[in-house]
Symmetry: D2
């Protein structure tokens, strides 16, 4: 980012979402319910709602979803992201930095030459 | 964003992550395992690993995690984000746009005056 | 079981497990942690540990697990049952009766003639 | 079991459920969808539906559910048991035996004197 930019936050869509979610919760007096324990539960519930769309589909089918299903799946994924961002805001965790660090760790853990084509290695992730 | 920037993607950290994950999978020949069905499962598993850190904590305790726990929680959240981004890339879903749309829907669904201080409304999310 | 047996509980393996788990928790002073909220979380975590064994397997592969995997899967399923039984004991719910009631409801919801070979119906379960 | 009893299955409620579920699936031609991979997903989804009832409740509240909530919770727990039993039947796993074995292991892993009142140990379960 250039130094002349003052509203740095507006460049980071996750930070923007975090701030919008904070306002949303404040206005509704929901901060009291948003203990990290509860948000982690809500995140888990949303992930399962996403999973539900895939439970009886074959793997190949899951690669070519009907438009209607895709739209619903997108909504569930949005819910997952929103709770994940809300939780990160409550805990003071920078999600993108954490993800970049994790990717660097994964690159060490699964060197290309040993991991090629094997899900075994991946299972140990 | 400044107009002079040509590589617009580099402004969007989730798109950057999506591209890095795609390269990561390609290099390891893991595309074959990354059917949306399987990625939704992996996402669910990671969310549960996050949940595990909170299962025996009280709500108040979960608001003030020990630094060591916080670090582990951050790693699990990174895993959740990575699978979520990978899944969105496989499905062609723009996560941030989907999240913004969902927030607009939530604002209609939970009007401030009716939702104040009630978790009941939220439960119906 | 023969009529001369007075301790009817021993006929119901889930009730036996519930009693053993109650003793187990009492001896360790764990009752304080076993709020239904927490047990539901623990149940969710164990289910995900089960799910993890299947995430990169094809459906056909999942029908013929290697003996080592099968043994681990059996252990995770045991954990799921144990938390489910513990939760039912804390809430005073008779699991087997609840399951029989649900099966009767399902028989009405998915009449044979309409449900045959369609996962669509099942998805709505 | 006494040798004179012919309907041995009727003594074991989980085996009874397994047989009823097998008939239920056969009549609807659902065996094709019931790969262990898919059943593990469905089990996970049902567990999250159970979890949803608890996400905004305090721990103390979760110990005294309203009758209406308790009834819904009982239904979700029934679903969890049904998928768990169906999965065990598909994999040829004796759930009750597996649970008893696991309890014996847990007794070794968490000796009374060291585990008393500490959730730390339990967290490692």
């Amino acid at each position: 980012m250039t130094e002349t930019r003052s509203e740095a936050a507006s460049d980071d869509p996750l930070r923007e979402l975090a701030e919008a979610l904070r306002r949303f919760a404040d206005e509704r007096d929901w901060e009291q319910f948003h203990a990290p324990k509860n948000l982690a539960m809500a995140l888990s519930v949303e992930t399962a709602e996403l999973l539900e769309h895939f439970q009886w589909l074959g793997e190949a089918e899951s690669r070519r979803l009907a438009p209607e299903t895709l739209a619903k799946v997108g909504e569930e994924m949005a819910d997952v992201l929103l709770y994940l961002v809300r939780l990160s805001d409550q805990l003071g965790i920078d999600l993108v930095q954490a993800a970049k660090r994790k990717m660097a760790l994964n690159a060490q853990k699964y060197p290309v030459e040993r991991a090629r084509g094997s899900s075994r290695k991946y299972t140990d992730l």
